[in-house]
């Protein structure tokens, strides 16, 4: 009798705890569904063509769109990519192919630490590095801030995918008598191209939605693009401003902007997922 009740208890504790863990996983997925679902439904209901064709109107006026901010986000992403991809890729090549173990692990460590620095701190740093010397908020400083966030992601993913290229490919290339740098750029990097591109896209998806580092670098600009040394608007910045606005028309535009941003970011993430799955097969 006694023994049976212990079995009974153990069995039910087992079921209870396993059930709870299933519920926990369900909660995690429900959070995604709640946020994503609400944003998509709200966003699509306020979505119209003005959003991508019109410039912002002054607060209080109905209408207007986020044309300049969407363009600004694309400029900032482009700028950050131009700065971050060469650094990240070359650092990745160093880590996988050229670094001595000790130096490579120090660089790797620095990259991981840099990836963990809060984005607002990166913003303050970019302010000190670029905005203060130039005496002006600028698109360039925003690009620098985003690039600092991108670099460690690009470097680490590039390293990992370059390492997956078998050494026999390197040996075969060298055996043909070509130089090492041509072996790397002509054989190793193309062999790992999917992984490298995946990492770059991951980094782009990450910075596309970043707001905190842009607050006092890109700053926002209602008049559209005025060159790289002037302040520039960005989609996430505008969503933030409009979300806190007292005007419900701007709140609605914030939702519509959020819809666009989420499509952009999740679109890239899903594409990345699809690419890396194909690589494995």
């Amino acid at each position: 009798m006694m023994v049976q009740s212990i079995y009974f208890r153990r069995k039910w504790i087992n079921r209870l705890m396993l059930g709870l863990s299933g519920i926990a996983a369900g909660i995690g997925i429900a959070m995604l569904a709640l946020i994503l679902g609400y944003t998509l439904v709200q966003g699509i209901s306020y979505l119209n063509l003005d959003l991508i064709t019109q410039a912002a109107k002054p607060a209080g006026e109905i209408g207007g769109g986020m044309r300049n901010e969407i363009f600004g986000t694309l400029i900032l992403i482009g700028l950050a990519s131009v700065l971050a991809i060469p650094i990240g890729l070359m650092a990745g090549i160093f880590l996988s192919d050229f670094g001595s173990p000790r130096i490579a692990s120090a660089v790797r460590f620095a990259a991981d630490i840099l990836a963990g620095v809060p984005s607002i701190v990166v913003g303050v740093f970019a302010y000190a590095l670029v905005v203060r010397p130039m005496h002006s908020y600028s698109a360039f400083s925003g690009g620098v801030a985003l690039a600092i966030i991108m670099v460690p992601i690009v470097a680490r993913t590039a390293e990992e995918s370059l390492r997956l290229v078998p050494n026999s490919m390197r040996e075969a290339a060298l055996a043909l008598g070509i130089t090492r740098w041509r072996a790397v750029l002509g054989v190793v990097v193309p062999g790992a191209l999917t992984g490298v591109v995946t990492g770059i896209m991951l980094a782009v998806a990450r910075v596309a939605g970043e707001t905190a580092p842009l607050l006092f670098t890109a700053f926002g600009n209602y008049f559209g693009f005025q060159g790289l040394s002037n302040s520039i608007g960005a989609l996430p910045l505008q969503i933030y401003n409009y979300a806190l606005s007292p005007y419900s028309d701007q709140n609605q535009q914030a939702w519509a902007g959020a819809f666009l941003l989420i499509i952009l970011v999740l679109g890239i993430s899903i594409l990345v997922r699809w690419l890396s799955r194909r690589k494995r097969v």
Partner: protein, 342 residues
């Protein structure tokens, strides 16, 4: 594994310099040099370029440390340790103390972790130990997708959906039923520490889940099989064999989540209410280090004011740096054990 070319260079060098018995062989070396001369030159340029760019990463990190310290200097000089324990933030009298912001950061992160830890560990256990294969992949994917949502969008959702829900029913109910605890006293604003904590929980769940899933996966199956062979139920196996085995990795996962929570800016700024308050009430609006910087840095005027905000950033940077170092070491140790076994 050493980097390929480094490895090759070393073995080539040693092959050139000595034969099997250890005698130096000079001629090969000379011939080798001559033959490869022009090639080595371009190779040297390329490899120094990779070294240069790799050190750009290190330089950025060091530059950050130097620049933040330098820019914070006026505030460090003026306030010293008073900055950390001071409770007043007044731009007019130029008095700046960070304690309420530090308190707000720690409190909101603590709430976030308290909610996130059981959910993430449960989800990780489900994904590693229970879920059939066809759920495992999509399940992980969906939870990781949560991490990809930009924080400004989570803030937007928090502001318009979560905050009203937190005000009533959550804070209403807590105030009515647990109002005797100081934590749950005060008028229900909605905006405040509690809302910020819940938002942070949502944002760290995917990180803690993903990392603890990886460390749980690193537990060798022999451990599980041994426990099951002793007649343990599945839960007893998880509890007695899996979790203790990867405990340090799980701690690392939680600390990694903490690092993210402490530095999270936009979503928290949007729902915390931005009031400089030092109060035990979770319902009260508050501020975090990150929200303070985000709210005031753009319009700060005067050396000391700006320097104080930079010093806040420096504090945040130092704390997250420390936390990330600890977490990386814990997680690395755990996952590299598995890598060494394979």
């Amino acid at each position: 594994m050493p980097a390929f070319f480094t490895f090759m260079e070393r073995s080539a060098k040693s092959a050139q310099e000595t034969d099997e018995a250890g005698n130096k062989i000079m001629p090969t070396k000379v011939i080798g040099r001559k033959f490869l001369g022009h090639r080595r030159y371009s190779d040297r340029i390329f490899s120094s370029l990779t070294v240069f760019f790799a050190f750009v990463i290190v330089a950025i990190l060091l530059g950050m440390i130097v620049a933040l310290n330098f820019d914070a200097l006026p505030a460090i000089r003026k306030f010293g340790i008073e900055f950390i324990v001071g409770t007043v933030w007044n731009a007019v009298t130029e008095q700046f103390g960070a304690l309420p912001a530090i308190y707000g950061t720690l409190l909101s992160s603590a709430i976030g972790l308290l909610i996130a830890i059981p959910i993430s560990l449960g989800a990780a256990i489900f994904l590693v130990e229970l879920a059939p294969n066809w759920i495992r992949g999509p399940g992980s994917f969906l939870i990781e997708m949560l991490a990809a949502i930009p924080s400004v969008i989570i803030g937007l959702w928090g502001l318009f959906v979560l905050v009203p829900f937190v005000r009533n029913p959550i804070e209403g109910w807590l105030g009515d039923n647990l109002g005797f605890i100081p934590l749950f006293q005060g008028p229900p604003f909605g905006l405040g520490f509690l809302a910020a904590g819940i938002i942070l929980a949502i944002m760290v769940v995917p990180i803690i889940t993903a990392v603890s899933r990886d460390v749980m996966r690193a537990v060798p199956n022999s451990q599980r099989e041994a426990m099951l062979a002793l007649g343990a139920t599945r839960w007893e196996m998880i509890r007695r064999a899996v979790l203790p085995y990867c405990r340090s990795g799980l701690v690392g996962a939680v600390i990694l989540g903490l690092g993210r929570a402490l530095g999270e800016t936009m979503a928290v700024t949007m729902v915390i209410g931005n009031k400089y308050a030092l109060t035990p009430s979770l319902f009260s609006p508050g501020a975090t280090i990150a929200s303070k910087i985000a709210g005031e840095f753009g319009e700060a005027a005067g050396d000391v004011f700006v320097a104080s905000l930079v010093e806040l950033a420096l504090v945040l940077f130092a704390v997250t740096l420390l936390i990330n170092v600890i977490a990386r070491l814990l997680v690395w140790r755990m996952t590299s054990v598995k890598a060494a076994q394979e």
